[in-house]
């Protein structure tokens, strides 16, 4: 608050507050959170409670969209890297699907999770070199759950 507020300023500040409140009511009527989205957010808790307790979270450490020089063109693949400890997953998302590699190279079973049914979607296997390929088109938010011989790793949710 300013020190030199007179009655007029008080009045104006009160009008500001009233207008903000009127906008808040308008937003609640004209542009509320869609009910199905609220529902999905509630459901997202299953990710936490169902998550394998020993699953490690691999955070997004590289995203070509923000970390690389901008490249023009419609078919530029989105390159992503998720890391946790010494395990890294590189992914390339194109219009054809998704390719990737687990590093250090090792076989893994990889589930592709979507928000519609967060417990299961596609499954793909990484070969001895850690490479995997999947023609599943990623639409909407997704995460990968990897099971290597030693551990379970889940990537951060991301939308591509």
């Amino acid at each position: 608050m300013n020190d030199n507020v007179g009655n007029d300023s008080f009045d104006e500040a009160a009008q500001d507050d009233a207008l903000e409140e009127a906008l808040r009511r308008a937003a609640a009527i004209l542009d509320p959170v869609p009910a199905e989205l609220r529902h999905l957010a509630v459901e997202a808790y299953a990710l936490h409670s169902l998550r394998d307790l020993d699953a490690r979270l691999a955070e997004l450490t590289f995203d070509s969209l923000v970390d690389a020089l901008p490249v023009r063109g419609a078919d530029v693949p989105r390159m992503l890297t998720f890391s946790t400890g010494d395990l890294t997953v590189d992914i390339e998302v194109t219009a054809e699907g998704l390719t990737g590699q687990v590093l250090p190279p090792q076989p893994a079973r990889i589930e592709i999770l979507g928000t519609a049914q967060p417990t299961a979607t596609g499954t793909v296997t990484a070969d001895e070199m850690g490479r995997f390929l999947c023609d599943l088109l990623l639409t909407g938010p997704f995460a990968l759950r990897l099971r290597t011989d030693e551990e379970v790793v889940v990537t951060e949710w991301l939308r591509v």
Binding site: A22, V33, A41, A44, Y45, L158
Partner: protein, 224 residues
Amino acid sequence: MTSCSGTVLLSRITAGIPHSAAYDDLPYTRGGAVDRDAVGALVQSAADGDAAAWKALVDGLSPLVWSVVRAHRLSDADAHEVYQTAWFRFAQHLDRIREPHKAGSWLASTARHECLKVIKSTRRLTPTDDPQVLDGISEDRTPEESLIESEEAAAEAERIRRMWQEFEELGDRCRELLRVLMASPPPSYQEVSGALGIAVGSIGPLRQRCLRRLRARLVARGVR
């Protein structure tokens, strides 16, 4: 055992928020902000397995996340996906959030970053007047049904619609700021800062300028 604590905390959040007759069905449309300490405790409880605490977080912070997404004017499909991404990632990070009482800011800035990525990857913005939003008042949602019952209420609905239209026509900076500020319950400036990437200290003056600009437009158009 843990679910009890969730219920208690939920009532703590809703307590002290007065209701107005026409908006009884809409939680948090008036008055007080979410108690930030309560948010911290809810995050803790949810991390410990309390589903009711999680639901309370969704109820209390969903409008903020939605406001952030709307402020960035994404297409409906993109808006929905960003909203989901923010919440799914929040669920993943539940037991690693460093400052649980700032969960609102965390969600707001996560949503913002995802919005910026969408804008960067599509470089496509929706036109200024989203017809769905403007037509919203004629759809049969419960709060509106009660509004349209009397002529007086119809006039009120028209007033709200015109106010919204003037709001939509504000410049980008003001429109973005006000869209986030009108989340319900009112967001903290910390959350607004996370939502828009602007310094906390500049929010107050900008808010004042934008509200007064809008008010001047409303007066000029005879909307009051």
